[in-house]
Amino acid sequence: MAFVQQSSPHAHNARPTSKVMLWVILAALPGLLAQTLFFGWGNLINVAWCIAIALASEAAILKLRSRPVAFVLRDNTAAVTGLLLGLSLPQFAPWWVSAVAVISAIVIAKQLYGGLGSNPFNPAMVGYALVLISFPVAMTTNWAEPALLWNSAPGFGDTLVAVASGQQTAIDGWTMATPLDEYKHKIASHTAVEVLAHPTFGEGVAKGWEWVNAAFLIGGLVLIGLKIITWHIPAAFLGALIAMSLAFGSNADQYAPLSLHLLAGGTMLGAFFIATDPVSAATSHQGKLIYGAGIGVLIYLIRSWGNYPDAVAFSVLLMNFAVPFIDHYTPPRTYGHHKARRGQPGRGRS
């Protein structure tokens, strides 16, 4: 009798990585649905296109690296990167902008660093930051005007043509500055009341955006409930953003109000889906709190005093830089030890 030889443990009850990623995709669907309802077909087309490009470029580079293509593609991580970019890019972003973002995310930020698990930076945010810096016009003028899908939004065909042709002029009538952009650029010369009169804000906080953010918040809570992510990063992220806003932004005639910070732009998507990418985030609970808070603070700083209206990508990338440093100084205290062993071997206070 030849018995299976295996080292312990013999029992396993893992949720495989592929399933974890599938849950992330599913949890993002309410947000995508809200985006589609309030901003038309653009995001849906982007998501489909980005996922296709992501899978294709991942397959190509795996082939080049002589890795098992089907085995790796099945982990669904490339699909998640594509999805996140599709959700973040402007609705009418030309097809090539999305393609550049996705390819640089998968090929450069992920695979050239060694593939899944070895990338120090969040791939989707590397792609996003790259196109944001390289194509500022395409990245700021292609945001859809908030309009209910069944009301006045451009049809699926029109959107597809606009995205596929990359013709800026065709879509002029359907686009509008984002609330954060509008507030940032008008508040210097206007009062808060005057700025908020702009149609991009609508009746509530930020027309459409508030629902999209609420949907991502719900999806994120589902992920926490499923124990796919822990509460530490989103809580620290949002907590820091709130704290910064309360500390510095109480004057609405000078700075965007807290409600806008939380419910406009990519705040919730960033807090629950992007900053929580485990590969490029800090490890321990304490580290995650510092990491999340760092992102929140940076977002507030860049939004308020930087050149960009939104700042999730830059903040996440900046904190990615800090992760090895954070990890060094935030290991948990091990059972039976008085203190955590911080820092480098040999130099730590054990």
Partner: protein, 609 residues
């Protein structure tokens, strides 16, 4: 209600315990052959005290230890010692080790036993002796010799004695069934241990998935101070460190033992063994083993004689050989796979799982770590398993050690939840092994260096001593010379009697020394054959030496006369020297004559040629 604490992390694997709790503990019977490893626990192996062919009785000591960390081995039944040699033993490596093979005679005849009526009348050390000679080692896991564990060093008072009945690993029910069916023995064993240790608190920890065991024990402890603590089911609550945390809220210091914080953990099976050793004088010759898994028709718990081959008990439990894919000794979380069924049941074997392929499927291929942190969430030791994994994989052992690799208890919770199905525990074992090897090598290198340095130091010191002695000698010689010179000068200058005497005696000594050296040289030269030497200078030299010796003799004779005249105290010495010199002159003369003769004969022979 006992206050309980929680430990961090932990997992809830499917229990599969009902498989083996349906039937009560049955005797497995006597197999055709018993294989008794001489080492069945941590520590040192025992030495056989029987010879091949010996007839032994059940309970008779067949191997003993002289001292140190070890316990004796007893014959589990009566029979004949068939052989002593290397046979496969239960070990993850599948290695062979020294075993005694006993062929049972089927009579199961006991040796004479001397049960104790009241252990309280005995010394604690006597009770510990009984436990030691009964061959008891911990029956829960690693198998630490119980008598040593029960005797913590004097500065460590045990306040809390914990009996571990948590049995948190899936599948295993040996302790559960022991508690259900042998609750009285569990409690009396605990009482004996408590009497030895005198703790303030005795508590039996049982997971809440074993209500029958808890009920049985509650009944058994009635009228005593022993607490029954029913703890929430969570793996690994039965880990010693975790159970201590649950029941006391304290943590065992890293690298320390529970006694450091006044706690001791014993297994319920060990308590039964102690009770039997004390009250029945029955050594540890059998244990309860869970036989379970879906490849068995009649899974259950068996009272198995130690040394019984695994295939025999599997057969008793209705093994369906075509269904077995994996055979595990121990639980599914920490046990190891067996390569062969020929290995025996030993003192630490608590469970054998014959699993089908669908029951414990092979894990999917390892994927990249996505640093999801699930492992850290479940780690009961609050380590960072993923960081340890990265460091182990990159052979950065120093960093792994810095992150407390050696606090890992290898419970397997991290591997159990890893979404990338990385065999994390295997990586940690590898890293620990590498570090141990490195340490051993470092130690060896250090010792070698110390030895080398010590030798260097010694050689240097010897050299220095030599040098010092040489210098001292040279100094003494120089002083003597200077003294001589001064005295000679003085003697020459004033010729005073005392000075002269001293000077002459010094001169005599010097002359004696020189004489000795030169005459010896002359002798040796005279003794050496002169064939190859040029003959003429030799004779010349001898003549010169003779002349010198003669002149010396004369000087000395004058000195002797002087000394006699002055009645000096070195007269005797001088006399002896004169006689000696006289002999030397004589010898020199003889040597000269002889060499002249030989020279003559040589020239003769040469002329003949």
């Amino acid at each position: 209600m006992t206050r309980l604490w929680d430990f961090s992390g932990g997992v809830h694997p499917a229990e599969h315990k009902q498989l083996s709790t349906r039937r009560s503990i049955q005797a497995a019977g006597i197999p055709g052959q018993l294989v008794l490893p001489l080492q069945q626990h941590i520590g040192e192996p025992a030495e056989p005290v029987v010879a091949i062919g010996d007839q032994v009785l059940k309970g008779q000591k067949i191997a003993d230890v002289s001292g140190g960390m070890g316990v004796p081995v007893h014959a589990p039944t009566s029979g004949v010692i068939e052989s002593i040699g290397d046979f496969p033993v239960p070990h993850p490596s599948g290695m062979a080790d020294k075993c005694i093979i006993l062929k049972p005679d089927g009579k199961d005849e006991w040796c004479k036993r001397y049960p104790i009526s009241d252990y309280r009348k005995l010394d604690r050390d006597q009770i510990l002796d009984i436990i030691h000679s009964a061959g008891i080692s911990g029956m829960g896991g690693a198998g630490f010799p119980t008598h040593i564990k029960l005797k913590p060093s004097r500065d460590r008072k045990v306040d809390t004695l914990i009996l571990n009945g948590a049995e948190c690993e899936p599948y295993i029910t040996a302790d559960d069934m022991t508690m259900r069916e042998r609750a009285d023995e569990v409690v009396s064993g605990l009482k004996v241990m408590a009497w030895i240790l005198r703790p303030e608190r005795c508590v039996i920890g049982i997971e809440d998935n074993k209500p029958e065991a808890a009920t049985a024990l509650r009944k058994a402890v009635q009228g005593t101070q022993i607490e029954i603590a029913v703890i929430p089911t969570k793996y690994p609550s039965g880990g010693e460190k975790q159970l201590i945390q649950i029941l006391t809220g304290m943590e065992v210091p890293s690298g320390g033992i529970p006694a450091d914080i006044g706690v001791m953990c014993q297994n319920v099976g060990t308590a039964v063994a102690v009770a039997r050793a004390v009250f029945e004088d029955t050594p540890l010759v059998s244990r309860v083993v869970t036989l379970t898994g879906e490849a068995l028709e009649k899974p259950g718990n068996f009272d198995v004689l130690l040394g019984t081959p695994v295939d025999y008990v599997l057969e008793r439990a209705g093994l369906q050989p075509e269904l077995v894919s994996r055979l595990i000794l121990g639980g599914p979380m920490m046990g190891y796979t067996l390569t062969t069924t020929a290995v025996p049941v030993i003192k630490t074997s608590n469970c054998i799982i014959a699993a089908t392929a669908s029951e414990l499927p092979a894990p999917p291929p390892e994927q990249a770590c996505i640093r999801c942190g699930q492992c850290a969430e479940v780690c009961p030791m609050e380590l960072l398993p993923q960081q340890l994994f990265w460091h182990a994989k990159a052979a950065e052992f120093e960093k792994a050690e810095h992150l407390n690799l050696f606090d890992c208890i290898e419970c397997g919770a991290c591997s159990y939840v890893c979404p990338s199905s990385i065999p994390l525990v295997q990586y940690y074992r590898y890293a620990k092994g590498e570090i141990r090897v490195q340490r051993a090598e470092q130690l060896k290198a250090d010792r070698a260096r110390e030895r080398f340095e010590a030798r260097q130091h010694r050689l240097e010191r010897e050299q220095q001593d030599k040098e010092l002695r040489r210098k001292e000698r040279a100094k003494a010689a120089a002083e003597a010379q200077a003294k001589q010179k001064v005295e000679a000068e003085k003697a020459a200058a004033c010729g005073e009697a005392v000075d002269k005497r001293a000077a002459s005696s010094a001169l005599v000594e010097q002359a004696l020394a020189r004489k000795k050296a030169s005459s010896e040289a002359a002798q040796s030269r005279a003794a050496t054959p002169v064939e190859s030497e040029p003959e003429k200078p030799d004779i010349d030299a001898l003549e010169k030496q003779l002349a010198q010796a003669q002149s010396k003799l004369e000087t000395m004779q004058t000195m002797l006369e002087d000394a006699r005249a002055q009645q000096a105290d070195n007269v005797e010495k001088l006399e002896r020297a004169v006689t000696k010199n006289h002999d030397r002159v004589k010898r020199a003369e003889e040597a000269l004559a002889e060499s002249r003769k030989s020279l003559a004969s040589q020239t003769e022979s040469q002329s003949i040629e």
